[in-house]
Amino acid sequence: MTNNNRSAISVRGLRTRLGASAKLGPLDLELAVGEHALLVGPSGCGKSSLLRILAGLLPTESGDISLFGQEVSRGSKILLPPRKRGIGFLFQGGALWPHMNVAAHLNFVLRCAAIAPAEWDARRAELLTQVGLEGFEDRRPGTLSGGEAQRLGLARALAPRPRLLLLDEPLGPLDAERRTSLLELFENLRRRLDLTILHVTHDPAEASSMTDRTLHMRADGTLAGENNA
């Protein structure tokens, strides 16, 4: 177990099976508070699974994980459930709730975060301004473009004021112009909200100019090395 308060993510000896033949690890990983790291690797190497493990959505077989100095899982035992880890997660496909409009998405998260209803309007407006979706409150996910949907996913992830943001291939469905715009948004938010970001992609060129560090994963699910920006 680590007690390093400057460490946002600390993974030691992580190892697990992913399905019948694929596996992840063994791997160690350290991410400092406020860092923006890019995790790259070929398709199917386990990048997205690693994010899910950090979020507590997937179990592991062995290894210890600590977030901001607090041990959250040890071996196959989950010590802190996903909803208590203070993590914002932007899913690859958005994972937006089709029956809720933009406002309902954010209200749902604000209610879960036990924020007083009287504060919802102000907080919702703040979030929508942060991601550039002002005036979209009544729109449903089916009526949003790919970029707008990702921005809504981002607003939802930020709503409970997380300290760690996990991005799972967030730029996949977007064109070049929208990719750049969203990348700039991630970086601005990181600075303003003091976030730590772990950004997964299979394209090394995607965000390397805006991140502090690039971590490389091999096809066998282990970490190959890193480049510093």
Binding site: R83, A95, P98, F108, A113, A157
Partner: protein
């Protein structure tokens, strides 16, 4: 998954669905002598007749249901939209009402051919629905590739392998319904040539001997038969409904039948005429006076009489069915979610379908054994017993529909809510249930329809004697007149209302397949 919700749901399944089956098994274990003569000549002959009924009806359902489902779902068949809706009528209509109409229209046809024909007509929509669902989920790009290389026949050849599991799964369910039906063989055999099947025999054994263990022992071969149909139905269901759907799905376009459009259209309308329009038309004719002369006055009088005499029965059936479907829905959602998401969900699925494997008559006897005791007698004689009976018998259908819907729902929708801090109960209520609303409503409506048309188990339980189907069963055995026809039409109308309302006001397709 919330442990509280799951525990409560499992408790409902155990009490309403599994306890009657378990008690029946226990009776045989305690009285092995009941197994003597299990495979004597008479039993084997009954088994053969039940196989003939189930196999014949299921074969007929496959023969007409699979093409009907495909043509109405995917082609430019004339009136395809109407055919899709009217095609549900034979399934919604209680099989007994189909029998009442057709035995009058063709009185010389009785025994096995008539029973098989009626159960085939009653169950073909199941095969059609399964086939249509799979046909709508074939990726449009795959179809275009086949169209470019082999035209329409190329498309059909390519799709045959994709649709076959779904059609066969529907056929297995059709077998299940036909082989365990009691009312139609009983009614068709009431005049002329007899065609006794297993369900009759189980009922007769229980009535004559008053012995639960003998009735269970008699039913064992039928349980094996139904299980033999049910297990492949479940396996094929998974393959047939999920295998054709890709994540970047492109909806297929409507296929042109060319010069076959009108001949096939006539055949489809002919089938609907046999299964829905003629039976309903015959009842409309009889309700207005029938052969003695039709008039609006007689028609109104017949309906007035049916409403006056059976208002309480109709309201009782409605109350029981609505209550059973409504109470079963959250239970089905929780169990379906566990089936779809758990690694060993198949085991829970097996438990859920177990009450279906017991013939309806046997399930009713099981309920009597469980509830007709000193401490539970007050409940046994109350309407609550009927609700529990319906839930236990039919819970598997909304559960399987929910499981299928949850399996096709992106798991990340729930994970996003989990990370946002939503409790399992809130995730279920605010994310899963609203996203699966068409499937949940489909499950509710299917359960409501099955409960409204239920007779085989209700005939045994005193509290169910006030249901409208029991009233109908008695009425048709004591003569036929305009009152019976009007009552039959009322039952069909009331049963069909929730589905029609959903279509009118929701604008969404119902998902009614297990």
């Amino acid at each position: 998954m919330s442990r509280t919700l799951l525990t409560l749901s499992l408790a409902v399944l155990a009490v309403a669905g599994l306890a009657p089956v378990a008690v029946m098994i226990l009776r045989v274990v305690q009285d092995p002598a009941a197994l003597q003569g299990l495979l004597d000549e008479r039993t084997l002959s009954l088994l053969g007749r039940t196989l003939l009924l189930g196999g014949g009806a299921a074969g007929l359902a496959l023969l007409v249901g699979a093409p009907f489902g495909y043509l109405t779902a995917r082609t430019d068949l004339p009136g395809a939209t109407w055919l899709r809706s009217l095609g549900l009528v034979p399934l919604i209509m209680p099989p007994l009402l189909l029998a009442v109409s057709w035995t009058v229209l063709v009185p010389q046809l009785r025994g096995a051919p008539m029973t098989i024909l009626l159960m085939g007509l009653s169950t073909f929509p199941i095969v059609a629905l399964f086939t249509a669902k799979a046909a709508r989920r074939v990726d449009g790009r795959r179809e275009e590739a086949a169209l470019l290389s082999g035209g329409l026949s190329g498309v059909l050849r390519m799709e045959f392998g994709l649709l076959l599991p779904a059609a066969l799964s529907g056929t297995c369910f059709a077998f299940l319904f036909a082989a365990s039906d009691f009312a139609v063989p009983d009614f068709v055999s009431s005049v002329g040539r007899k065609f006794n099947v297993y369900a009759d025999e189980v009922f007769a054994t229980w009535q004559v001997n008053g012995s639960d263990s003998r009735a269970v022992a008699t039913a064992l071969p039928l349980v094996v038969l139904i299980l033999a149909a049910l297990l492949p139905a479940l396996a094929l269901r998974r393959r047939g409904t999920l295998a054709t759907l890709d994540s970047d799905f492109v909806a297929p376009r409507t296929l042109s039948l060319g010069s076959w459009r009108w001949p096939l259209g006539l055949a489809a309308w002919g089938l609907i005429t046999l299964g829905a329009l003629i039976p309903v038309g015959r009842m409309l004719f009889e309700a207005g006076g029938g052969p003695s002369g039709w008039s609006v006055y007689k028609f109104q009088a017949a309906f007035g009489k049916a409403i006056d005499l059976c208002r309480d029965n109709l309201l009782a059936s409605l109350g029981y069915s609505i209550l059973a479907a409504t109470l079963a829905l959250p239970v089905a959602l929780v169990l379906g979610h566990a089936i779809a998401r758990w690694r060993h969900g198949w085991f829970l699925e097996m438990l859920c379908v177990l009450p279906l494997a017991a013939p309806a008559i046997l399930f009713g006897i099981g309920n009597i054994a469980v509830w007709n005791g000193t401490y539970t007698y007050a409940f046994y004689t109350s309407g609550g017993m009927v609700v529990v009976l319906y839930i236990g018998r039919f819970l598997a259908f909304p559960t399987l529909i929910s499981a299928s819907a949850v399996a096709s729902m992106d798991r990340e929708l729930e994970q996003a809510a989990e990370l946002a801090g939503a409790s399992p109960m809130r995730r279920m209520a605010r994310i899963v249930a609203p996203a699966l609303l068409p499937s949940l409503m489909g499950g509710w409506i299917l359960m409501f329809v099955l409960a409204m048309r239920e007779l085989d188990t209700a005939i045994l339980v005193p509290a169910a004697n006030d249901t409208v189907m029991f009233r109908m069963f008695n009425a048709v055995h004591f003569g036929r007149d305009d009152f019976v026809a009007a009552l039959a039409l009322l039952i069909i109308f009331v049963t069909i209302v929730p589905g029609v309302l959903w279509r009118l006001f929701s604008g969404k397709e119902l998902e009614v397949l297990p």
